[in-house]
Amino acid sequence: MAKQMTYSEAINDAIRLAMRKDENVILIGEDVAGGAEVDHLQNEGAWGGVFGVTKGIVEEFGRTRVLDTPIAEAGYMGAAVSAAATGLRPISELMFNDFIGSCLDEVMNQAAKFHYMFGGKAKVPLTIRTIDGAGFNAAAQHSQSLYALFTHIPGLKVVVPSSPYDIKGLLLTAIFDDDPVIVFEDKTLYGMKGEVGEGFYTIPFGKAEIKRAGKDLTIVGIGKQVYTALRAADQLAKKGFEAEVIDPRTLSPLDEDTIINSVKKTGRLIIVDEAYPRCSAATDIAAIVGDKAFDYLDAPIKRVTAPHSPVPFSPPLEKLYMPSPQKIIDAFSTMVGDNVFTTV
């Protein structure tokens, strides 16, 4: 049975299911319960995180398992990593992925390394939930998409769910995975509604989803850019070109096979990624395909990304900054011949 749920509700659902299933699962972060040390907020009506995603969880599981922390990322992230290394399955919320600078050592140099450096004897079953994405008029320090930073580091798993169904299944996989996993929740997707399976289910990592089949072009959309890709695909279809749209769902591990097999069929690849263009997921996928599917390429690989610039605060500039269906179509037109599209 499936029911309609928002992306935000699907996360809340997943966390409750995990916490009911395993008492070692705890939630830790800034304001994840809300109202700590505030008398009238101790039992109900607490904030539940900056976007209210974890609202109500403290009421069910109490403040021993839902821990509000001071605004000190290094402190609580370090605590979460240690808790994971010593037997718990913490879900640590980094309010915005932009704040990783304050606790990068805990993630990059501790959590990511333990299993390797202790010869497999240690495990760090830590899930970091964090918020990314532009398009929310949240300016340069609250709008980045930094998943490439973590994809770069061995020992971390990186998840970029694009739908309510996916976030629930992938988050549950993350929580019960024995490695540190960082889950990127795009803040603009929280209100998105979609069908979500009832009860406990997981979605395996490293398994991309083909959102739309096509033979003329492969578009890999990362995170919410899957929808930009789907809109572009609809417009391309009106011109007689069928684009295959792939959602990789996890960047580490990456489902190379699905992407490469698609490119073998279509001969063309566009990667849509709202992150910065240099050393990015888009660049990485382009390199993998250029390397492993060279003989199948019928056109240069194109990346539709943000410019190499911070996210602007001005709403019109931010709109211009983001990938758009038109940018994808423009890229495609340069791949197939400049005269194919004049206007779409």
């Binding site: 001969g267 003989d295 199948y296 390429l297 019928d298 056109a299 340069t334 791949m335 011949g337 400049d338």
Partner: protein, 419 residues
């Protein structure tokens, strides 16, 4: 150790050759010096000889295969020897080819095709198109690219492959089957005889197509009164000592008239390439010669320094060599102007096609007798139609017309040709 039989480089411009016929079967013994395989380039057909005694142990390129220079066509080795084992570890002597190959140059030619040699524009091909071309055996130089900047795409190669398949002759087996199924044999449509364009035909096809696609050519026509020339030719022939090599044909006189006109109108004695017009002081005259399977244009070098009889001798020698297929003895490039004649076929005016990078070619028609006014009298006169095609990129109508008028004047005052 197996010895490779390699596609040799048989001329400056040669990049690939076609296997015409294997004269030995696989497994057949061969003696040193014996012809093994017959190959053709754009210009010549040639038999390759076995470099040593042995057995033809492997055939790499089947008949009709188009093979880049330097690539192995087959292998000669001892009986029972395998090709594979030996190519992995060829010994120095054994690896020498039938012909001596400048390996570096050959490799360079192959590389040039792929990455461009700085003069020719790089051939833009998508990786997928290149792969498909390899499996479908499509020559990428014959494929027109429809992608951005003329890039050859997979679809372009697929289309070329389809076209090639459609041109292939119907398999005899299929025909027989069709006949037996169809009650009336008249119902089987005549599908014609298809033949793949290779060797000389391919070069002619490409060059003529390029000529018409890439130059701005047009044709001027004039009629020359050659009554006096014919009389002069008769006298000259009688006066000239009997010589098997010199017959002083009208073509020889026309060649001389053209050379003399070119020396005055040097702008016509030019070539156009890479946006550069190069004008020459000396004349190297191309004479088109029709062959059974195509045509060639042997070149009379330094024609401006040669007498009428010397030119006559050279033209005769060159056309004889061309007709006998001894093209390797001929100079076929470097001409600064060409003459082509359809005079023996009753053709009057026509539009010759430029032989780039030349900017002019003179077409010679058939002489006809017509009445004409000489003063107040009507006389029987002989007229020669001349058609001058020129490249308007390099030269304008007026100077081209002046050149043609000069040729006409030279022919109408034939004694000037021997002065």
């Amino acid at each position: 150790m197996a010895t490779e039989i390699i596609m040799p480089k048989m001329g400056m411009g040669m990049e690939e050759g076609t296997v015409v016929e294997w004269l030995k079967h696989k497994g057949e013994p061969v003696k040193k010096g014996e012809s093994v395989v017959s190959i053709s380039s754009d210009k010549i057909e040639k038999d390759l000889e076995a470099p040593e005694d042995g057995v033809l142990i492997g055939i790499e390129a089947e008949e009709d295969a188009v093979v880049p220079i330097g690539q192995a066509l087959g292998y000669i080795g001892r009986e029972g020897e395998s090709v594979r084992g030996d190519t992995a570890a060829p010994d120095k002597e054994g690896a020498s080819s039938v012909q001596t190959i400048e390996t570096k140059e050959d490799r360079a030619a192959v590389v040039a095709e792929i990455v461009g040699d700085g003069v020719q524009p790089r051939l833009r091909v998508s990786p997928a198109a290149r792969k498909l071309a390899r499996t479908e055996k499509i020559d990428l130089k014959t494929v027109k690219g429809t992608g951005p900047l003329g890039r050859i795409t997979k679809a372009d190669v697929a289309a070329a492959a389809d076209e090639q398949k459609n041109r292939l002759p119907v398999q005899p087996a299929t025909l027989i089957k069709e006949k037996s199924v169809t009650e009336s044999s008249a119902a089987v449509p005549d599908k014609g005889t298809a033949r793949k364009v290779t060797g000389m035909r391919k070069v002619i096809a490409q060059r003529m197509y390029d000529s018409l696609q890439q130059t701005a050519q047009l044709t001027l026509q004039t009629t020359v009164d050659v009554t006096d020339l014919l009389a002069f030719q008769k006298t000259a022939r009688e006066a000239y000592p009997i010589d098997d090599e010199v017959r002083l044909t009208i073509t020889d006189f026309i060649a001389k008239a053209v050379i003399n006109a070119l020396l005055v109108h040097k702008e016509m004695n030019s070539t156009y390439s890479d946006n550069t017009i190069t004008t020459y002081d000396g004349v190297s005259l191309g004479i088109a010669v029709a062959l059974a399977e195509g045509l060639v244009v042997p070149v009379i070098q330094d024609a401006d320094k040669k007498s009428l009889s010397a030119i006559s001798r050279e033209i005769r020698k060159a056309s004889r060599a061309a007709r006998e297929g001894r093209l390797d003895t001929l100079q076929l490039t470097g001409s600064t102007f060409s003459i082509t004649s359809l005079g023996t076929y009753g053709i009057g005016f026509f539009t010759p096609v430029l032989n780039p990078p030349e900017i002019g070619i003179l077409g010679v028609g058939t002489i006809s007798e017509q009445p004409a006014y000489i003063g107040a009298d009507i006389q029987k006169r002989s007229f020669l139609p001349l058609s001058l095609t020129f490249d308007h990129r390099a030269i304008d109508g007026a100077p081209a017309a002046e050149f043609l008028a000069a040729v006409k004047a030279n022919l109408e005052a034939p004694f000037t040709l021997v002065l």
